[in-house]
Amino acid sequence: MNTAFLGMPSFPRNAEKALRDSQLRFNLRKATHTIRARRGAVVAELADWPELRAAGRAIKDDVLCNLDRYLLQAEEAVTRAGGKVHWASDAAEADRIVTDLVKATGETRVMKVKSMATQEIGLNEALEREGVTAYETDLAELIVQLGDDWPSHILVPAIHRNRSEIREIFLEHMAQWGRPAPDDLADDPRTLAEAARLHLRERFLSTNVGISGANFLIAETGTLVVLESEGNGRMCLTLPRTLISVVGIEKILPTWRDLEVFLQLLPRSSTGERMNPYTSMWTGATEGQEFHLVLLDNGRTTVLADEIGRQALRCIRCSACLNVCPVYERVGGHAYGSVYPGPIGAILTPQLRGMASELDASLPYASSLCGACYDVCPVAIDIPEVLVHMRSKAPHAPAERFGLGAAGWVLDRPVRLRGAQRVAGRLRGLVPKSHLPGPGAAWTATRDVPDVPAESFRDWWRRTQKGDERVGRPDHSESSEEVGGELA
């Protein structure tokens, strides 16, 4: 994964910073609510949405179960159609393959279509080290690149910038990268888009190497599929003499026919459109082009080995889960410290990178487990389930481990619980009113300490109900001790 995120502080600290940025919160709220409403409207148009979603999920699960077979099939089909297939175990290998391919063309400039896979492997930086400049061509990526910034949303990477900020960035930085922005640049979206068009036009027509990712790779036919809006994707895929596509191994779909499901699920879930403006599909070397496909593992096979966690590999990067997430809406994408933000990032990043860093170990907690992400996910990834699973695997602080261990011991036997409650009742005067000391401080930073009652419910029940303890009790309970344990 990208080294830029190494050493980043944990999610709570990033979030705290982001929450103080009221402009960011305003932009995020407006953006997420807009897409959310659009998605809802176009999803409601399809009466068979639940069935499409179930099929999408099953097709992807089938892909994961038979990934070796499908990859070989795709490799054969792409090769037959004149493409060359490369396999990369990790980011460094993928970077090296792409860099060598670019160098072999003799070019020092490449143009790119927005691709999360190439961000994940830090390709632009790797190319730069070898003297190759990578130009981002998606408007939002351009804003991010010119502003020397990081994407904060899967679909709208510059969601954290408003029009006047974008105008500033264009005025200040376009000249370093090519055609400068006009001095009298206004800040309405149409004018800004026009400036980007002019800035990139010359580059599109003269750059000989294009680099892309892909939304889908069809095993049966070797066909690659890229969905986009602006036409920069078509430029990068169509005009250069050499095209290199870096594709995660989980992007496979078994058959051509499967597109009938995914071309309905993806555009409606992501941009909230019936269909995105442009979708390009090509098989192998096309219209005289040289074509290279780099199949990327980079931790995906580790995710695949986890029976619960592997469902994250069904993800088609639609970003619907980001747009409904109450946590994402407030803190934005940067706090997640990864190219994969939001709920999907919270389960994918710690699986791909492991949970050795403070940041990665904190990601499974970046959620209230409300489940909105699961409801909208077009491939029905049970994100809350994976979050809880990851939490159980995350390293826990000694105080927390001790606390949970003690709680387990107490709750294990009703008699221990009763004893503990009586002790707590007697010592209640010693409990601080607002802030706990020591390791407990983290817990009370955002919560009040609950009042400890003088008498537990169990004792009160015993005292007031006397011998009549079986009133209203469910049948399955054996003894009064156990019922008391459950209720308390």
Partner: protein
């Protein structure tokens, strides 16, 4: 061990014993009836593209009218465009043929391009080009700033599954739903970034 072998081996051990998955396709199946030209026109208009629906015999007049309104002087014309479509175009419009192939710079200087299509989808307002007759290679409909597309009523299918069933994946394809657009600035939709900023459709009924 090569990375290829290593990745395949890791996959095999990761999914060993995973149960096979049954894919059930309970969604709406492929329909055999034709797609509605009215719905197609309405959905294309939703993307703020101009649509003219005319009887087959008036296609040439509609094409000429559209080109005149736009002021097209240099028009890219792909191979095997049905002859009649350009019959009413006045002589001062210069046709640019892709034989020998036009350079990107030449395409950039053209005022527009006129094509047919392979399939059109009513439900989503989508036109699919597959580089077949009357469509040309992909760059022809990409670089010029104006794209006029003629869709025959019998090319319109109801939805996405019907289109997928009709198309040949071996061909390079472009699915077009409205003009190029971006919503990257504060989620405001702006039509026209890098692809043709104006898309017009003539439906031949």
């Amino acid at each position: 061990m090569s990375s290829r072998e290593a990745i395949l081996a890791r996959i095999r051990s990761a999914v060993a014993g995973a149960p096979a998955v049954e894919v059930s396709r309970g969604y709406r199946p492929v329909r055999s009836e034709p797609g509605s030209a009215d719905l197609f026109a309405e959905r294309v208009r939703d993307y703020r593209a101009v649509v003219r629906a005319v009887p087959e015999s008036e296609v040439a007049a509609a094409v000429a009218a559209a080109l005149a309104e736009r002021g097209v002087r240099r028009l890219v014309v792909p191979e095997e465009l049905p002859g009649g479509w350009l019959d009413a175009v006045p002589a001062e419009v210069e046709p640019l043929r892709d034989e020998p192939p036009l350079t990107a710079a030449e395409l950039d200087r053209a005022d527009g391009v006129v094509t047919g299509c392979a399939v059109a989808i009513a439900e989503t307002g989508t036109i699919v080009l597959d580089a077949g007759p009357g469509q040309g290679r992909r760059a022809l409909t990409l670089v010029p700033d104006y794209h006029l597309c003629v869709v025959r009523a019998d090319q319109i299918v109801p939805g996405v599954p019907e289109a997928v069933a009709r198309l040949d994946p071996a061909r390079p394809m472009t699915w077009i739903s409205g003009p190029s657009a971006t919503s990257d600035i504060e989620l405001n939709r702006v039509e026209g970034v890098h692809g043709p900023r104006t898309l017009e459709v003539v439906i031949a009924l």
